[in-house]
């Protein structure tokens, strides 16, 4: 079932370009907000449709490929819509539609400045994210990875407050350094193995290297992609980046940017090094340790945060490492769980961020301690919040349960009881830091929110949609977009190629 066949197609390229092409259109309609938002929505819709059109062939193991031109000796700028790429692209572009609608409500509700720059950067970010998703080789991947870094910067500093500027500096310091490490790792890879092509199951040539070389290489790669994946201790930029407007945090710091990081981790693990090489040198153990400690530490740190968005950020740090953990398990169920968690965490976390933004727009509150009784004023918003919180804690009807279940299965397959323990403890911790918020919102009394009601429909509708989607994905993981089948396909590609 793994005979991948590629066929030339321009669709991956078009999917990337469609939002980049909207940037100048957004730029010239700066004075007409309605037209400008129309371009954003049009680009988002077109992008999603294009990605969706790639889904059937990806499910049929037929891979659309755009081979452009040579960018370094023997390495072409190539885009390949394999199952994993389509999977990630679907999540990013699908949630972009919701976020675009939400953004319109948000920035208008707050009368933000520089809206044109905001929407333009957003569109560029999405182009880069899809480029990361579809990159067929490491050089293409790194190019889009760096474009993503740079195009996110204007969004992080959007508010232009000293705090935002400091956050921007921190963000650049972390990501640019990581980029440099990644470039070094890539150059070493090119010299040692002679290829930078992603291959399901990893590169054979790596197995001929000495253990020290492989270990150093893997360390550099993990550090390079690990910054965006916020693996501790490389996570510090993420809570700081919460200075960005909430839709930015929602899409970029819960979906596009950080998921590019974990996407990169899985790419490196499954398509560059391969399970065989990793387990031979014991490198997956390192990943498990890093991911496990990140999950626990981040959950503990989340308790200490009173700022809602920062608590969400720490929660993101923890949940990203679920994916890393899944990749590190190297077992079929573990991989399925890790990959599924990319989508599941994205849909749930985006709900939570949307809620935080809605609260901020309506009530101008950022602190958890000030949210007493807000559930009465904004029942829909907080209802969705409660649902997503439960999902992240791993309570069954919501999709978070599915990925955690598979992660647990994977851990048992690999015989690592410690991982199961980590998963359980972390589920409890998640419940511990989310449920008090829900409790405050619905069961505590306060006079603060008598005068406000639900946020505008622009914001509530996407929020409810995402929450409904999360819940339905929990009941039927394969609904609509075949995420589950895709995850299975991805795990099979990675594992079967290495054990023929």
């Amino acid at each position: 079932m793994n005979d991948l066949s590629t066929y030339p197609s321009a669709v991956p390229l078009l999917a990337i370009l469609v939002s980049a092409a909207s940037v100048p259109l957004i730029g010239i309609s700066a004075r007409r907000p309605n037209l400008r938002e129309f371009w954003t929505l049009l680009a988002a819709g077109a992008k999603f449709a294009l990605v969706l059109s790639l889904l059937p062939s990806a499910l049929a193991n037929r891979v659309a490929e755009t081979r452009l031109f040579e960018i370094s000796r023997g390495i072409d700028l190539t885009l390949r819509a394999d199952a994993f790429g389509v999977y990630f692209a679907l999540i990013a572009s699908g949630l972009w539609i919701l976020t675009s609608i939400y953004s319109i409500g948000y920035v208008r509700g707050l009368k933000e400045k520089h809206q044109t720059r905001y929407f333009a950067s957003f569109a560029l970010c999405l182009s880069a994210t899809l480029g990361v998703a579809f990159a067929a080789n490491l050089l293409t991947f790194v190019i889009f990875f760096e474009v993503l870094t740079i195009s996110t910067y204007p969004l992080v500093i959007h508010k232009q407050t000293p705090e935002a500027i400091a956050a921007g500096r921190k963000y650049l310091a972390f990501t640019l350094t990581a980029g440099v490490v990644l470039v070094a790792a890539m150059a070493a890879m090119a010299q040692l193995t002679g290829t930078l092509e992603f291959q399901p199951g990893g590169l054979r040539a790596l197995q001929e290297l000495s253990p020290v070389e492989v270990k150093i290489l893997f360390g550099m790669f993990l550090a390079g992609v690990g910054v965006k994946a916020a693996i501790m201790p490389l996570h510090a930029w993420l809570p700081a980046a919460m200075a960005a407007p909430t839709p930015v945090s929602a899409l970029l710091h819960a979906v596009a940017v950080v998921k590019s990081g974990v996407f990169g981790v899985v790419r490196v693990v499954g398509f560059l090094f391969g399970p065989e090489t990793l387990s031979r040198f014991g490198l997956n153990e390192v990943m498990l340790w890093l991911a496990g400690s990140t999950i626990l530490l981040a959950s503990c740190l989340a308790f200490a945060e009173d700022n809602l968005k920062r608590r969400l950020a720490y929660s993101t740090v923890g949940h990203l490492s679920y994916v890393v953990l899944g990749a590190g398990l190297l077992s079929p169920s573990g991989l399925i769980g890790g990959v599924l968690h990319i989508a599941n965490h994205a849909t749930m976390k985006i709900v939570l961020f949307f809620c935080a933004g809605a609260i901020y727009v309506n009530a101008h509150k950022e602190k958890i301690s000030e949210l007493d009784g807000i559930g009465r004023a904004m029942p829909w918003t907080m209802g969705a919040f409660a649902l997503a919180s439960l999902g992240l804690a791993g309570v069954p009807p919501v999709n978070g349960f599915v990925s955690k279940w598979y992660l647990g299965l994977g851990a048992l397959e690999g015989g690592s009881v410690a991982v199961v323990a980590i998963l359980l403890i972390s589920g409890l911790l998640n419940a511990g830091y989310f449920l008090p918020i829900v409790y405050r919102a619905f069961f505590k009394q306060s006079e603060n929110f008598n005068s406000i009601g639900e946020a505008s429909a622009w914001m509530v509708v996407p929020l409810i949609l995402a929450a409904c989607f999360s819940a339905s994905m929990g009941l039927m993981p394969d609904l609509f977009f075949h995420f589950f089948t895709l995850a299975e396909r991805i795990a099979a590609q990675i594992l079967e190629a290495s054990n023929p």
């Binding site: 370094s72 870094t149 740079i150 500027i165």
Partner: protein, 502 residues
């Protein structure tokens, strides 16, 4: 007919027009600029055809006065020379288009001598590229140097002092080169590069030959501002007028780098030399020092042009690193970086020129966020230039560093790889310092806190005029285009330059 004369045509056009300009300009001062521009425009197709011809049919040689090679002076156009000649003509053309307004604002009474000197400088540069004779190279080196001293002297109040310092050190540099050439001549009995290269393997063990090489490299190192021989550069570049610095900074040091390549890799055999004196290793280590030193000094500068000048010291370090690695990938990276750095430095110096003309200064501390709306396009060019200097894909700067890193890894020069990457990060710090200042408001105290969303302050448009903006944007655009085309360049052009010895 034209093909046979190709090597000489470009320098000759510059030389003749440099002499014609004062003759006509004395009667019609307004004619100086059109003449200069016409000369540069005329040389672009010649240089372009030269490159095409060389790529197509191999090197073209021209013997001056019909005297055959070892005795007469030979002019040779090979891939490296023709490529860099084209680079010089294109960059200087863009700078000259930009110069029309800048020069008339900064030194209106010196148009005629100014453009004459510019063409003399270019004649020297292109002569250096085209000549196949060691002593003739010295002559062209002096032509360009003398013109350079003159150009630096036409600037702000301190410029004569900078020019004088440049002159003294430049003379030491050219003097060393001449002395080294003398050693080689006395030992080999020839001055023709190809001839010397043929003779050298037999006499390479003579200490005098190696001493000659070291003297030549030291002398050219001074002209190239190879760390630690860079100390004349920051003063010279920052006090020269905007046009002069936009010409000298991207091109002047690159010509020096060309001479280094020519002597180290084409006249001498680097591998054979390395067994006797570790000259390429020394260059690489010094360059690594230059990358760090230049970047750190750039970090400390408060004046934009001065910052760019120190950044040049660092970027020359990159070129030196690539050459010092003495392997094909490093060489490729170095040549690519010569091209990329010429373009990005030109773009950034043109931005500096726009700032100086429109604001009257280029002081970083005095810039603020209004600038991004007063001069949106210039600032956009600044951002592109900065991204390329940092080496972020898909700009051109990324790819030269990519080849340098590949070369470093191929030769297991881990320290150099580290330095290249660290240098990129330092670049990021000092360029983002400027970009932040230009785009973001820094509130110092609560007084500016008023009107958070209400008053969009009105800023007048102070963007540079079209003749200044167009070249700036063309260069910035070229940085993006060249990034994607870098592989094409490497395969089709630079690949043919790699000397046989590597």
């Amino acid at each position: 007919m034209i093909e046979a004369n190709l090597p000489l045509l470009v320098p000759l056009t510059f030389l003749i027009s440099a002499l014609v300009i004062p003759l006509i300009g004395l009667r019609v001062p307004g004619a100086a600029y059109p003449l200069a521009l016409a000369a540069v425009l005329a040389t672009i197709p010649i240089a372009g055809f030269g490159l095409y011809r060389v790529m197509d049919g191999g090197p073209v040689s021209y013997t001056l006065g019909g005297w055959e090679a070892p005795i007469g002076i030979e002019f040779v156009l090979d891939p490296l020379a023709s490529f860099l000649t084209l680079l010089v003509t294109v960059v200087s053309c863009l700078v000259l288009i930009h110069a029309r307004h800048v020069a008339s604002v900064e030194h209106p009474d010196k148009q005629v001598p100014y453009y004459s000197l510019v063409l003399l400088l270019l004649a020297g540069f292109c002569g250096i590229m085209a000549t196949g004779d060691l002593f003739n190279l010295y002559v062209f080196l002096e032509i360009s140097s003398l013109a350079g001293y003159g150009l630096v002297a036409i600037g702000d109040k301190r410029s004569p002092v900078s020019a004088y310092r440049y002159l003294i050190l430049g003379s030491v540099g050219t003097g060393f080169y001449l002395l080294g050439t003398g050693f080689i001549y006395v030992m080999s009995g020839s001055l023709n590069m190809a001839d010397v290269a043929r003779i050298l393997p037999q006499i390479l063990d003579q200490p005098a030959v190696l001493a000659g090489l070291i003297l030549m490299v030291t002398g050219i190192g001074l002209k190239t501002a190879l760390f630690p021989l860079h100390f004349w550069l920051p003063d010279a570049y920052s006090s020269a007028s905007s046009v002069s610095s936009a010409l000298l900074a991207p091109l002047g040091t690159k010509v020096g780098a060309y001479v280094l390549i020519r002597i180290l890799f084409f006249v001498f055999d680097p591998a054979a030399v390395e067994q006797r004196v570790p000259i390429t290793s020394v260059i690489a280590w010094l360059s690594a020092g230059g990358v760090l030193y230049g970047s750190l000094m750039a970090l400390a500068q408060q004046e934009f042009k001065r910052m760019l000048a120190y950044s040049s010291v660092a970027q020359i370090g990159y070129i030196g690193l690539g050459l010092g690695m003495a392997n094909p990938l490093g060489f490729t990276g170095a040549v690519l970086h010569i091209l990329n750095h010429a373009l990005m430095k030109a773009a950034l110096f043109l931005v500096a020129g726009n700032l100086r003309v429109q604001l009257g200064h280029s002081n970083i501390a005095a810039m603020d966020h209004r600038l991004s709306r007063q001069m949106p396009w210039s600032m956009a060019a600044l951002v592109v230039g900065a991204l390329s200097m940092i080496g972020l894909p898909p700009t051109a700067g990324f790819f030269s560093k990519w080849y340098l890193v590949l070369g470093g890894i191929q030769g297991s020069y881990w320290v150099f790889v580290g330095v290249i990457l660290l240098g990129g990060l330092l670049n990021a710090i000092y360029f983002f310092r400027v970009v932040e200042r230009v785009y973001l408001p820094f509130r110092r105290g609560p007084s500016n806190q008023a009107a958070p969303n209400g008053g969009q302050e009105v800023v007048e448009n102070r963007e540079a005029r079209f003749s200044m903006l167009a070249p700036t944007l063309v260069l910035a655009g070229a940085l993006l285009a060249l990034g994607l085309a870098s592989s094409f360049l490497v395969n089709r052009v630079i690949h043919h330059m790699i000397p046989a010895g590597l």
